[in-house]
Structure formats: C-alpha cells, structure tokens
Symmetry: C2
Subunit: 195 residues, 2 copies
Amino acid sequence: MVSDKQKNILNFINIFVEKNGYAPSVREICTGVGLKSTSTVQYHIEKLINSGYLQKNYKKSRALTVNSQMSKNKIPILGEIAAGSLLMAEENVIGSVNYPHAEEATELFALSVSGDSMIDEGIHEKDLVIIDKSLQIKNGDIGAFLINNTEGTIKFLRNIEGKNYLVPANKNYKKIQVNENIQPIGKVVSLIRDM
Amino acid sequence: MVSDKQKNILNFINIFVEKNGYAPSVREICTGVGLKSTSTVQYHIEKLINSGYLQKNYKKSRALTVNSQMSKNKIPILGEIAAGSLLMAEENVIGSVNYPHAEEATELFALSVSGDSMIDEGIHEKDLVIIDKSLQIKNGDIGAFLINNTEGTIKFLRNIEGKNYLVPANKNYKKIQVNENIQPIGKVVSLIRDM
DNA sequence: GTTTTATTCGAACAAATGTGCTAATATTAT
DNA sequence: ATAATATTAGCACATTTGTTCGAATAAAAC
C-alpha cells in the first residue's frame, strides 16, 4: 500500500518531530529524504494520508500529525491471543498505552495479565505487562509465551538440569517443560497497574 | 516573573498543542488569548522564552515548544522525603516520568517505593507509584502518608472499629493507628515497574 | 513492444507566518 | 506629579510555506 519512499518520509517525520517538537515543512522533508521538488513530497504526503498514516490541516504550516498507532511511545495492547492468529494482527489490538521508554515501538506491545500464576512476583490479574519482542528470554527472566498457538502466558524461564521450564510464581501451579508446543514471544520489560 | 497574560498564553499554547498536535502560529495565539497585535504576542513569547518556559526556532513557523517541566503527561519523581521539607520542593525531584493519564500534572507525582511493607499487594521495592494529591484517601485505599514529617510510606488505610489505621500488606509489619503525627499525602493511583 | 501507473521535477503563485519598527496606552515606582 | 516600566496596537516587509499545473522520467502491467 505504501512504498519504501513513503515509509522513508513517515520515518523522517517521526524522527523530526521527536527531535524538534514540531513537524517539518514540506521543503524540510524534501532535503531530509533527498527529493528536489516540493510537489513530489506533496504527492507522497497525500498517499500517506489516504493510507491513514498521517493527518494534515489544509494550508497550515507544519500541521502534519502522525497517527497514534505508529507514533513513538505508544504501543498496542493486545487482548487474548487467538488460536493460530498472528500475534500483532490488528483485530487483536484492544487499545494502546503510552510507554515513555519506547524508542522503537514496533518491537513492543502490552498484554493484559489474566490469571494469578505470577502473583508471588507481584504480577496481578488486570496488570498490563510490556513485552519486548526483540529481547531474547534468558534463564531467570520473566517472559511471554504462546502455548499450543492458543494460549498466551507470562512465566519465569528457568533452566533446571539442562532442561528449560516455564515456572509460575504461585505454589498452586506447576512448572511446565518447554517443548515444541511452547514458543517464546518476548521478554517482559515493564509492568503498569492502575488502581 | 511572568505575568498573568503570559501564563494565559502558555496555557493556550499547551492546550492548542494537546488538541492539534502542533503549536499555534503567532496570529492564532493573538485571537486565542484576545490580543490584536502580533507584536504583542511576540513580546510575551520573548518573555516566556527568557523565563525558560518556552523554546523557539528563529523564523520557523509553529516552532514553539513548551519546556518539559510544565508539559502535560510528565510528572516529577521525588526521592526520599526529607525531614520537614515541603514535599514538592525542587531539591527533592530526582527525575520525571511520562504518565499518559495525567490531565493535570500538578496534582500528581511519582515516588520510588522503599521497603517491602506492601509486598503482599504486589508492590515491590524500587517500584514507582503514582500519587494523586487531589484524591482523598478513603477506607480500603492504598495511600501515601508522611510520618513525623520525616518518613514517607505507602500503606492501606483501614477503618477498624471507628479508628483509622495504616495497614501494611506484609505479615512481618504491624498496623499503625493514625494520629497527629501521620498526615495523608495522596492516593496511590498507579504503579510502574521496570524489569 | 505499447499502455498504464507511479514517481519525480520545475516553476510560479497565493497565503500564512515571523519579524521589526514606531507609537500609544496602562501600570508601577519614585 | 513625574519618570520608568510594562503592555498593547498598527502597519509594513521579507520569508517561509502549502498549493497547483504541466511535463518529464521511471517502473510495472499488458
């Protein structure tokens, strides 16, 4: 739907806004992405608007706004992980949350905790955990895992006598040995609880 | 240092940015705050810049940025509450954190949790709790309290047989009856944990 | 190959916008 | 009252900036 050049422009705008606190002018985008004509930039901006990535205010300068889904510091909240569905599929997004530390929001998402299997670690039901897909889950880390392509869960990953286990922080639950039905999603990097 | 009109202008800019995603032009500020001359606005803008409230980029349109301390969604993190000191005194601010739900940042601040007296509620040492000074702490709420003007603490407030107690969520600690040495700071409304 | 579509450029225009200058008025200090 | 300071206004000017039109080039489809 959007070409590389358009992604390039969107990215430039994002970085510009992040750095300067206001959007670039058409001509600043020109030099920023290596284009010589303002109308070429207009052309791409219109495409980005039609694709829903940008918003504009007619005839106002620097009145570009990047739509929230792809703006920095804002990451999607996923609902229950549906069977076989792609994790980041849009139909699973039930909201979004600002997350100040996010540099690259693409690797991050939030998941609402269901169940009490991590209660002893102070992770409650309804808490929001931030998951970084780009970070490998190491021994001792808390990670998000997908079981049988059906169920999402938050657990400790622990290596015991050479074997990997998903270990809950609740005596009422048992640890599960990692097998081919369990795939890692990402490392839990943060927790947000509203009261 | 800054006059009412200048605060008025700063507030207008803040709201405008919040609403539109980009800063207002000089003439938009004119009509927004009820001034008829662009140079009057320039005059006030320069004052606000000299006072450190605003930043500007010379000859660029809509290139105003509100300095972070007074921008929305950003609230101060306080360190240990020093004896007798005013809670929000600047010397106690050790950082700041973005908090998406903040409408009026003035009533909110963040406190780093020390100790494990609320461990059974999943509130750990080093967690960041967001406190709303404008919300009264009611029976059953978790609140922040100042004891003997010296020590800050997070506890449940519970009314037992007509008397108010600060109740920890940890069997190793005892509840404390509320007396004149204990003053409420605000209600704990959120928790952030980085791992 | 031809046609269609996507992308780029150049130039010109009108509007929006920041700035500079001078003067008038209001407020405060002495 | 007088002087100093703060605030406001009006106007003109130079740039910046978004927009538009036509045409050239590149890429993709047929």
